[in-house]
Structure formats: C-alpha cells, structure tokens
Amino acid sequence: MRRELPWPLNLYQSAVGKKWVMALTGLALLGFVLVHMLGNLHLYDGPWETHEYAETLRDLGTEVIPRTWVLWGLRIGLIAAFGLHIHSAYSLTRMSRSADRRYAGGRDYIAANYASRTMRWTGPLVGLFVVYHLADLTWGHFNPDYIRGDPYHNVVASLSNLPVAIWYIVANVALAVHIYHGAWSMFQSLGINSPRWNPLRRRLAQAFATVILVGNLSFPILVQAGVIDDGGRSVVRERLEQADHAAGQTPGPTGGML
C-alpha cells in the first residue's frame, strides 16, 4: 500500500474520492459549457455585439485588478478542472480495466444505456475537439481568414466550411451524450440522493443535455444555412478603422487591440 497523504489529498488516493473530484470538476465544466453556449448566442445580435461581449469578458473585474486577470483566473481554473477530470477518468478506467474480465459468451445490458457505455469514447472525442476548437477560434491556426478580435467573422469563416461544420456537429452530439450520463452520474458520485428528489436528477440531466445540444448545434447549422453571415467582411475591423479615422489617427492603439 502507498503511504497515505494528508487530508484532503488522501481522498484522491481512493477511487470513491476520485469520483468526487470527477463529479465536482464535471460540475464546473457544466457551468462553463452553459455560460459558453449562452455567450455564443450573441452571434444572433450581430458582429459588433459579439465583439463587445468578448471585450466584456476581458474587462471583468477591471475596477479592482488589471484587465484580463479575472478572465485568466477563470481560464486557469478551467484548465485545472479539465486536467483533474481527465486524470481521474484515466486512472479509474485503468483500475476498472484491470479488475474486469470479459464474458466469452457475450453479455446482455439491462440498465446501462448508450451514453453510460460510451463515456470513455465521448470524453476523449470532446477533449480532442476542445484542442481543435482553441486552435481554430482562439489561436487562429487553421483559418487563413482569422482576424483577432472579431469572433463573429472567425466563426463564420470556420463554420462555412462544410467538413468543419460537420466536425463541430459530431463533437457537440458527443458532448451532449457525455452530459446526459455525466450530469446524472454526478449526483450519485457525490451522494446527493434523496427519494424525494431522485426522479428529478435524470430529468435535470436530460434537460441540460438538450439545452446544450440545441444551442451549440444551432451555430454550425445556421452558418451553413447562411443565417449567420458577414459576407467575408470584418464588420468589427471596419468600425474600428472608421473610429480611428474620425479621431484623426492612422491605426493606433485600437488597431493594436485587434
């Protein structure tokens, strides 16, 4: 046996403790996924409003601490949650794989559903997608038309490409399937169980997965349908250039912001 670490680190040495960590980090990630989807709804307001929303996120907490510090705090928390979620899943999967033996004559599933049995596939798929998504829309690696500071333009430029739109749709279906089991499983892992509320847990997971699915799928579908479109222009860049021109400046500090 390994030496026991001091509390609360010793919780992470047990499988039940790791499931707690998986559930709590899962909860944080659910919160992120919901806020991210709701924030993206600014795409329906238009390019400038989407840009302003992105700037609002960078401006969080500027009354107290320097600009983007709050955003970076949230990002670091998110990365930590992702890391622990993946590590606990990896180590528990290894534990179960070594404990399990297959049935030579096959087996029948009664309660386990498609979502619960594919967690170990939908999880890595979503993880890969997150890396692609960051490279695509945050770092601009895959997109020759990428313009820093104009998220609306970048979303249209990426998702108007059909294979990219299909990849976004597949990944978001995987995410919703993952949430369908995860958001229910979370309650069991944390021991949140009361006969009075138990039926609500499954329904809450279903509702959450559905809301995320509908919201997130609407973006690639509506870009493909031409509803979300900027005709290849960058409305944000044009407006900022006009503002600079009116102020009698050649591309100055605001241009640097892009």
Partner: protein, 261 residues
Amino acid sequence: MSATGNGTLNLRLRVWRQDGPGDAGRFETYDVGGISSDASFLEMLDVLNERLTLEGREPITFESDCREGICGTCGLMINGRAHGPQKGTATCQLHMREFSDGDLITVEPWRAGSFEVIRDLAVDRTALDRIIAAGGYISVNTGAAPDANLVPVPKEAAESAFDAAACIGCGACVAACPNSAAQLFTAAKVQHLNLLPQGQPERWARTEAMVETMEQFFGSCTNHGECEEACPKEISIDFIAWTNRDYVRAKLKNRKLAGQR
C-alpha cells in the same frame, strides 16, 4: 415430477467448462431433453449431471446450497444476464418455464479479476469476505441479553437498513458490472449497519476500511445501474450514493478522531 407442469422442454446448453484455475477453459454443448418446465435451473443442471455421470463423463461443477434464494451460494451468468432473465431472483429460483422448447442457453461463471474460476461454473468469492472482515460487523460486549427495545430505532431507518441487509452476498452485482465493481455489495453491507443506532460507534472506521478494502480487489463504479437490475434482492443503488457520501465524511471524521483505524 411435473403433475402440475405445462410440459417438458428439450434444450441445448452451451456450458463453460474449465478444469482448474490455470486452464484456459472452453464452451461445451449438451442436448438436454425431457426437462420439466417446473424444474428450477439448478435442478435442470442436476439432471444433466446425472446423465453425464452415467455416461462416465465429468459432471459440471456449480455451487448451490439452500436453493430457496436466501444463501447466496448459487449464481450463474445465463444468456449474458446474472441469475438469468427473471428479475429479483437467484439462479435457484429461476424456473425452466422462463425458457422455450428448443432454446439454446449459454451458461458462464461470474467473471471478474478477483473471482478466479475454481472449476467450471464455480468461482472464488473470497474477496467479498475480505470486505466484510474489514468492518462489516458491530462490536458488542457479550453478557446478559439487553432489554428489548432499549435502543429505539426509527421505523424508516429500520426498513431502509433491512432493505440493505437483504444482500445475500452472491456477487451478481460484480458479475453484472461492466467495471467489475463491488459497489452495491459493499454499500449494502456498509449501510445496513450505518443506518442503525447500533452501527454508529464504528460507522466511520467501518466505511473507510470497507471501501478501501473493496478498492484493492474490484473496479470503479461508473453508475451504469446494472448491479441493481441483476441483484436477486433488488437492492437499490441509493445505498451506493449514501456510501459515497459517508466515505468522504469518514475521511474527515477519522482525521479528527485520530487513529480510530
């Protein structure tokens, strides 16, 4: 044998045969005719074994004891389901009327890393005993019997504890679990004591010790719920949630109690 029966069945059985723990094992097929639909699954295997013995062949090794669903000794994977197709019963309570004439029935032992096959359909379930030995008891001073009703127990707690205590330790939960986790067994054995006043003094030590012993032998729960469906006593996975909560509380409490372990 079947005065009230609704006929006899002719079946084809595909049974796992394994000569010992080291043997690779294989399926063997047997045609079994004239089985009463009133026979239990184990009685059907008895009939087959008698024929095998008369033919001078090695009978199939399987475990059973009470044959009325209360001892937990029997347990077979029948057509990919722990204890067969009928819900809420052990293999001994499964009757052949659940099958149709001409059926092919696949019979396998429980499969888990910690359940080594001893021979054919019999597996070693010592790991479950290790979990009980870690804390599945209460310590009492023996002596004169205490007065009846000296310790009041709320009715709800008594009923809930009894639901958990219905566990017969057959191992179907482990067999049915895609992770080979023993969460339902352990949770039932932890909670039937943790829910009662008599179980309180050792509650936190018990929870920690039993969960950690379980984790040495079995996989990690992913909340599929297969165990609840397979359980011949229909024990709820609610007990697993309560044990998850008790475990994290135990780690904190035991730290304060300093070395209760």
